[in-house]
């Protein structure tokens, strides 16, 4: 687009800066200030606390049939975070992201504040961008709260020290910590892609609950389809297909194949659904 000097009318006002963080800051305060979201975070944080206390109080190694990370908890506290992430990935974390993403546009439409934001004016693209960044920050925040509480509880109850990987080799505590952070970031990116689905759903309705349910259904359906061998051809395209592959970060050497595939898939979902949200929202009559 070419830059043309604005006509010399008195009313046209230029933005003070192209990048204004004020609206984003306000959005983040809005998300984090909601009682509902704070209560949700408490539930997310309670899971690693519960896991660590449960394992500690049995005073013995979890049985051989326990999931991978559980068997390693007593050896190194860092595994509490990974066990908690594994458990919460099925429902709690996708639900948290669905709530924030589903509420993003539909929530404002529902109470009518959307029209006031748009006439302020906030351009529709900028509104979607700020809303999506809010969802992404929310996804990272939720994932890292689970991870940090898991690490803290693990270190308090089981101690740290070198980490024994799933493949049997040992790495230093620092390297182990780094891999836990990488795993959390990988999952947060996958959840952010789900957030784009939620953002799109949120532009389709004025009922935030409907958008939230649609989004959580989307992730649950992905998990279900991923477990049905008859539709194996579909599996590589399912958003959740590579989520549990974060375990590959704890092999030596790291098996990057599935991780990279998961990141490409997440990026594709994010781009496609953000574009769909924009296409829908930019032409929508706001009559709420």
């Amino acid at each position: 687009m070419s830059v043309v000097d604005a006509p010399s009318t008195t009313v046209v006002r230029a933005p003070r800066s192209t990048l204004s963080p004020r609206f984003l800051a306000s959005e983040l305060r809005l998300i984090l200030g909601r009682r509902r979201n704070q209560a949700g975070l408490l539930v997310l944080a309670a899971v690693p606390v519960f896991i660590s206390i449960a394992v500690k109080s049995t005073l013995s190694q979890p049985g051989q049939d326990a999931p991978d990370f559980f068997r390693s908890i007593t050896g190194n506290g860092l595994f509490v975070a990974l066990a908690a992430l594994t458990i919460e990935l099925g429902l709690f974390l996708p639900l948290a992201v669905s709530v924030v993403a589903g509420d993003s546009v539909a929530g404002e439409a529902n109470i009518g504040t959307l029209r006031y934001l748009l006439v302020t004016p906030v351009t529709r693209l900028r509104l979607l961008l700020v809303k999506y960044v809010g969802v992404v920050v929310g996804a990272f925040f939720a994932t890292f709260v689970v991870t940090l509480v898991g690490i803290l509880m693990g270190l308090i109850l089981f101690g740290g020290g070198p980490m024994t990987l799933l493949s049997g080799t040992q790495i230093s505590f620092g390297a182990g910590l780094l891999r836990v952070v990488l795993a959390a970031a990988y999952l947060a990116l996958g959840l952010s892609a789900l957030g784009a689905v939620g953002l799109f759903a949120s532009t389709l309705t004025e009922q935030p609950i409907a958008a939230m349910i649609a989004t959580i259904m989307f992730s649950s359906t992905s998990f279900v389809l991923d477990s049905i061998p008859q539709v194996a051809w579909l599996h590589p395209y399912l958003l959740t297909h590579h989520w549990l592959d974060f375990g590959d970060l704890f092999r030596d050497p790291i098996a990057w194949n599935n991780i990279v595939a998961g990141l490409v898939l997440a990026a594709s979902y994010a781009v496609v659904f953000f574009a769909a949200a924009w296409a829908r929202f930019t032409t929508k009559d706001v009559t709420s």
């Binding site: 604005a6 006509p7 010399s8 009318t9 008195t10 009313v11 046209v12 006002r13 230029a14 933005p15 003070r16 800066s17 204004s20 004020r22 609206f23 800051a25 306000s26 809005l30 200030g33 909601r34 009682r35 109470i111 009518g112 504040t113 029209r115 006031y116 934001l117 748009l118 006439v119 302020t120 004016p121 906030v122 351009t123 032409t283 009559d285 706001v286 009559t287």
Partner: protein, 310 residues
């Protein structure tokens, strides 16, 4: 620079097969207080939503201060304050926090003066004392005031107020009228939609009347209300004789009550009426010349009855 703050040409909106706004040519002169009238459901709010680029027109064009909408919305709308179909805020935030959120979304607003401007706007609508209450605890009148405050966070060249006195008590209604008056005095153009005729009558320089999606009348309020139908009323003991005199003079649409006779003056000079009555021996107890009320005009344009149009 155009001298029209708002101009629409052939503005039309259809929802499905229903034409809600039908080819209207709205002209709001810069500096005017424009009363946008019409019964419920006549298309006022849809028109306002099109002016503000919330709803895309099916056909026709909108210009604000000569800038095409919605293409130039981002450049023009910062100069426009709007109250659209009632207040809407986050219920669990305080009034002040809600205004700060709106201000944060405005990229043309200066962050360093936000606190002063927000409190100034709250003060202007008399809400400063309740600024830290949650919005959900506000009464309807307080909510309406907060929405007006939201439209005044930065200096505006155009205010679009959709039913601004909805839910306000008589005191609040008067305050809004004074507020509109003082803003207009500063040179702000005001487009105020309402179905409350008395309030519009007292503050508007221009009028537009909507009926079933069409703009059935538009002009200065003086023009519209003196469309050759000024009324003269003779109060008398013998209304029948008076009516006869009025008819001889050429007045039209004459009707009588037990103590008066009334007719449309047309081209007849008012002073002739009294002289003629006295000359004919009709005792004149009182004499009144008046323009029809806005309500008469409104009813004559939009019809009587309780039907919601459309």
């Amino acid at each position: 620079m155009t001298d029209l703050a708002v101009r629409t040409t052939g503005l039309t909106k259809r929802f499905g097969s229903q034409t809600v706004v039908d080819a209207i040519d709205l002209e709001v002169p810069t500096g005017s207080v424009y009363g946008f009238l019409g019964p419920n459901g006549s298309g006022k709010t849809t028109t306002i939503r099109m002016l503000l680029a919330l709803v895309a027109p099916t056909a026709g064009e909108v210009e604000l201060f000569g800038e095409a909408m919605p293409a130039r919305a981002a450049a023009v709308l910062p100069a426009v304050g709007a109250l659209v179909e009632g207040p809407a805020f986050h219920p669990y935030l305080s009034g002040r926090r809600n205004l700060h959120r709106l201000d944060a979304a405005d990229r043309t607003a200066d962050p360093s003066t936000a606190r002063r401007r927000v409190d100034g706007a709250l003060d202007r609508v008399g809400l400063l004392a309740a600024a830290d209450k949650r919005f959900r605890a506000y009464s309807l009148g307080m909510r309406q005031r907060l929405a007006i405050a939201g439209a005044l966070l930065t200096p505006k060249d155009l205010l679009v107020l959709d039913e601004p006195t909805n839910g306000l008590d008589p005191q609040g209604t008067r305050e809004v009228r004074q507020l509109v008056g003082s803003l207009a005095g500063d040179g702000t153009t005001v487009l105020v939609s309402s179905h409350l005729l008395a309030e519009v009558e007292q503050m508007c320089t221009h009028l537009g009347v909507m009926h079933v999606g069409k703009l059935v009348a538009q002009g200065t309020s003086v023009e519209l209300r003196s469309d050759g139908n000024t009324e003269a009323t003779v109060e008398t003991d013998s209304p029948g004789d008076a009516a006869r005199v009025l008819a001889e003079l050429g007045l039209t649409e004459i009707h009588t009550t037990a103590s008066s006779a009334t007719g449309h003056l047309g081209e007849v000079a008012p002073e002739k009426v009294v002289a003629a009555c006295v000359h004919a021996g009709v005792s004149v107890v009182g004499f009144r010349v008046g323009r029809p009320s806005l309500e008469d005009l409104f009813v004559s344009l939009t019809g009587e009855g309780f039907d919601v149009s459309g």
